[in-house]
Structures are given as C-alpha cells and as structure tokens.
Amino acid sequence: MAAPPSGVNLALLDKLVAALSAKGLVTEAEITERQAITDRASPEIGARMVARAWTDPDYYALLMRDGKAAAEAAGASMAGAPELGVLENTPSQHHLVVCTLCSCYPRALLGYPPGWYKSFAYRSRAVREPRAVLAEWGTQIPDDMEIRVVDSTADYRWMVLPMRPAGTEGWSVEKLASIITRDALVGVALPRVAGSD
C-alpha cells in the first residue's frame, strides 16, 4: 500500500497553500469546491455509458464519435478535461489501458485513478507482459484474441467499451451497469454475470 506522505511534504503543502493564498491564487473554498467536483466523478458514470451504448444504437454512435459529448450526456463534468477516446472490445480484440510515462487516466469521468494504476509495476509490466498481469487479476484472454495494450501518452484519455456478456438479454440499463466495474473500463477485468463460470 502507498505510504503516507512524509512530515516534510505535509509541511510543504501547507506552505505552498499559504504562499498561493497570499497571492490570491488559491483559496480554501476553491480547494474544497474542486475536491467536491472530483469526488463526484465515478466509474458508475462510465458504467452507465457502457450499458446505454449496449442498448441504444444512437448513443453508441455518439460514444464512438465523441467520447466527451457522450460523457457529458451521461452527467459527467468534462469542462476543461482532455479528449475522451473509447476503445471497443470485440470477439477478436481486447484493449488494456496503461500510461507508462506517468499515469494518464480519464479522471474527469472515472475519478481518481486507483493506486495500482499509478504503480511502477503496472506502468512497467502491462505494456510488456499484459497476459501475465491480466492472469494475476484472474482475467483470462483466449489465446486467439489479440490483446491491444493502449499506452496513454498524449492528449486523449481512454476508456474501454467491454463486450456485453451472454446471459444479459432483456436486462435494463441499470442492471447492465451494475456488472460493469472500473476494472472493466480499464481493461484489466471483464463484465461478469453472477453464477456464470
């Protein structure tokens, strides 16, 4: 697990905030407000987008054409955020997102990245041995399916559009969204129907 920040850096943060406040650049109220906005971003919004794309061809088309617009339509706050690209999994291709250079992640939509996404091990290994990393998650990708690792290096942030699993015929958007996890939106897991396999 991540170690807590050192006393030196806790003090540095206080001094930075004080210095920026003295310049009128940052207020505690602004910090609280930004945090509240960021706290509202959530994988649940991404899950609803996927579920809707599975059931609504027009929304699917919008999602593939303009991810930011599709996220806004789902209630995400995307103002000022980078472009949102969507990577569609198919029966022959599975996408896995990583950022080897830092830790680019669709924060505006999915919220704070989890610790593992930012870890040196994930950043380093996902691009080289994706099948081993996925196996550690319990995610088996068939040998005849291409794994396409997407190294998020520049101006887009990427979300995976997983395949709709069998056994979900007739489900509501809400019920479909309930099986789409944050991990599935990054590509380290697949949506699962309880009771199957």
């Binding site: 472009e83 691009v127 794994i147 396409r148």
Partner: protein, 102 residues
C-alpha cells in the same frame, strides 16, 4: 469533436507504414517528450489521426506551442521485447514530428 485542427491536413493516412524516429533528446539536455523509449526506431502502422494538439515538448517549458498532428500508431508487441505472444499489439499516441515514412 472538440479536438482542434491546425488547418494542415494530417500527413499520414490510416494504414500508412511509419517509423518512429530513433532520436534521443534526453541526451541533449532538459526536455519533456511523450514518445516512449521502447518505440523509438520501430516500424508501426497508423491506425488513425487523432487531431492536432499543442506540442507538449513546448508546453512543458511554457513556450509558444504550435499544434502538431497526433496519431494512434500500432506496433506488434513481441518484436519490441523479444517476448510475448504473436498477434498482440501496443497502440501509442505519437506526434507527427516523431514519425517518418517507412
């Protein structure tokens, strides 16, 4: 799409064979580049242009940053590491000034 365009058309079309420049600005002084080391000098295929964006190499130093075309470029994974499974790939966002015709 809100991806801005700089007025110039992308030089490479989907499917174009490209080579990433085998260039190492890291050896020449302070820099900030978004082209991972492991694709330098490698052959890839343009998947699609992604729009034009201010050059991060300039943005990083608060310099005027002209827009550059950005592409999704696909690489076979095993040759990069001499490892991995045939058919697996890596797709990377790369700016046009890092790409050459191959």
């Amino acid at each position: 799409m809100s991806a801005a365009h700089d007025g110039s058309a992308p030089r490479f079309a989907p499917g174009a064979q490209v080579r990433v420049k085998d260039d190492w600005p890291e050896t020449r002084g302070p820099c900030h580049i978004r082209t991972p080391y492991y694709v330098r000098g490698r052959l890839g295929q343009v998947v699609r242009p992604l729009g034009a964006f201010p050059n991060p190499e300039d943005l990083a130093f608060a310099r005027a940053a002209p827009r550059r075309q950005l592409y999704h470029v696909l690489f076979d994974q095993p040759p990069i590491w001499n490892d991995g499974k045939a058919g697996d790939t890596v797709m990377v966002e790369i700016f046009e000034h890092w790409l050459e015709e191959a």
